[in-house]
């Protein structure tokens, strides 16, 4: 494929100052438009000329989508979708109550990318499957084949779970943390405001193979609300990647656990980069309630978590990796709480 990779193709640019103006532009230009947040996912698509929107709606001037506010809900916070990952990682209230999210945000990419990349963009970004990103006409791109799931495909980063024709994974670090914290995503569209649970924001190819989230073309993710429910719980976040900067996770894990004495009262456990959406391990959570925090319980949880995993040619290493991450999330690593 001859692909021009020097400059971006021409597009029309709008920089609305309010959510209403942005939505009006989305309505006017529909599927030919593209909402731009930090731009770190978007501009690569444009430079490779694989996605070629006619109209780009840059949200950087929408002040009401920035910043972190306390909410009426005790201990809760609301994060504007255009808040940068650096702001999320360094915010005092998030550090003290939702350290899980600060930890996840601080492990995204590099300082420069965190200074520009936004929390809304991080959860809404597209998959990194290089066949898809390289412009191959796969299922996700509207075609009728998956190039990553053939006998000769290179699929070391691909899915273990929930794949359906497409085997690409969700690459976000903050998404599993937000699902573990039971966050609510606020979506604005033609029908007004809609609030969904974090775990319902992400979809599998069975629902729509060309999208990663429930966002419709005329909608915007405007903010993320974290309820006080899990504030100050026992958190664990770990990201395994090839290099300690830039790289997306091979597997990451986020857990929030309420422990009384040594007994697990409640837990939310989420793994990402093993499927098309952050994978909440509800069966494991159910089994863990009432158990003690021990090596054996962690081991058993790890075994249970992998039930149903379907490795591809080159990603079977993710099975022991994920098993050990689940175990570490439960019993801790000693060094980190």
């Amino acid at each position: 494929m001859a692909v021009i990779r020097d400059t971006m193709a021409e597009f029309d640019l709008f920089q609305p100052a309010s959510i209403d103006d942005a939505l009006a532009l989305k309505r006017r230009y529909g599927k030919t438009s593209w909402a731009l947040a930090g731009g770190l996912d978007s501009l690569d698509w444009f430079k490779d000329r694989i996605k070629r929107p006619e109209v780009v709606i840059d949200l950087s001037a929408v002040e009401s989508m920035r910043g972190i506010r306390e909410t009426d809900d005790a201990d809760g916070v609301e994060i504007g979708a255009m808040t940068t990952l650096t702001e999320v990682a360094e915010h005092a209230g998030i550090l003290s109550r939702f350290g899980l999210l600060a930890d996840a945000a601080s492990k995204v990419a590099t300082p420069q990318i965190r200074n520009q990349g936004t929390i809304g963009g991080n959860v809404t970004q597209d998959t990194r499957c290089w066949y898809y990103r390289g412009g191959w006409p796969c299922y996700r791109a509207g075609g009728n084949i998956c190039y990553a799931d053939t006998p000769t495909a290179i699929n070391r980063e691909h899915a273990l779970f929930e794949s359906n024709r497409c085997v690409a994974v969700n690459p976000s670090d903050t998404a599993p943390a937000l699902v573990a914290l039971d966050a609510k995503f606020v979506i604005m569209g033609g029908g007004g405001e809609k609030v969904v649970d974090a775990e319902d924001y992400f979809i599998t190819p069975a629902k729509d193979i060309t999208r990663m989230t429930i966002l419709e073309p005329g909608e915007l993710l405007t903010s993320i609300r974290i309820p006080g429910t899990w504030a100050g719980a026992r958190f664990y976040f770990e990201k395994v990647r090839d290099r300690q900067a830039w790289d997306f996770p091979l597997v990451n894990i986020a857990s929030a656990m309420k422990v009384s004495g040594n007994t697990i009262e409640d837990i939310r456990l989420v793994v990402n980069a093993v499927g098309p959406r952050p994978l909440r391990l509800t069966d494991v959570e159910r089994q863990l309630k009432g158990q003690s925090v021990t090596e054996e319980v962690g081991q058993a949880a790890g075994e249970l978590a992998l039930l149903g995993a379907r490795p591809l040619q080159h990603n079977a290493y993710k099975i022991p990796l994920m098993r050990n991450l689940v175990k570490r999330a439960i019993r801790g690593t000693g060094a980190r709480a």
Binding site: L13, D44, V56
Partner: protein, 210 residues
């Protein structure tokens, strides 16, 4: 083009390659401006649309107001290098994957290859050219890099230096691990990381006046 040709005719033997390239850049910018002024509606009409953008904009670069003609899909690195002649900012990967184009926007580091120029209106852009004082006195970070001979080929140096400036602005007493973290968004293909980190540490010392 006419002014470029005139310039070529006037060229004496001492004209350097750098000056010639800068002349071509200026000629190019003039051509763009002419296109803006005399264009006859080939681009989608925008009148009345909230948030539509103009091509001629003012940027704040290194403390100066710079009027510049910017395409909608243009990145800041392109504007700095090819419109404003600030070639100290290097283009490496053009994909936010190497760090050589790092500049400061309101004091924080960004990859200028992955920022639309239109989105930095109203923000203070600082490039490597904006660090030294008007009298030529180097910024403490630059002095530390010169004294430590921190780089081999130094293509990545402007990006690293901008990251070091942001680091010492935020933390004047970093540990070596914190310095490594602050510079983790820059790559050096000569793999001079130890010497670069030495420079970062002495840059912090110089900034504290030690």
């Amino acid at each position: 083009m006419a002014d470029q040709l005139e310039m070529l005719e006037e060229t004496d033997k001492s004209l350097s390659r750098r000056k010639f390239i800068k002349g071509v850049i200026a000629g190019g910018a003039a051509t763009y401006s002419a296109g803006y002024l005399f264009r006859t509606g080939t681009v989608r009409a925008q009148s009345g649309a909230a948030g539509s953008v103009e091509r001629l904009i003012t940027l704040n670069v290194n403390g100066q107001e710079r009027r510049v003609d910017v395409m909608k899909q243009e990145t800041l690195a392109t504007t700095l290098r090819y419109k404003l002649g600030l070639t100290g900012t290097k283009m490496g990967c053009d994909r936010a994957e190497c760090g050589s184009c790092t500049v400061l926007l309101d004091g924080t580091t960004h990859y200028s290859c992955s920022v639309l120029t239109h989105s930095v209106r109203g923000r203070a852009v600082t490039t490597i050219e904006g660090l030294a004082d008007a009298d030529g006195t180097l910024h403490p970070v630059q002095q530390a890099v010169v004294d430590g001979a921190g780089f081999q080929c130094a293509f990545c140096a402007p990006g690293f230096i901008m990251s070091m400036v942001a680091m010492v602005d935020a933390n004047q007493s970093p540990t070596r691990a914190e310095a490594a973290q602050a510079l983790s968004g820059n790559l050096c293909r000569c793999c001079d990381y130890n010497k670069i980190l030495d420079c970062a540490m002495s840059a912090a010392d110089y900034t504290r006046g030690v």
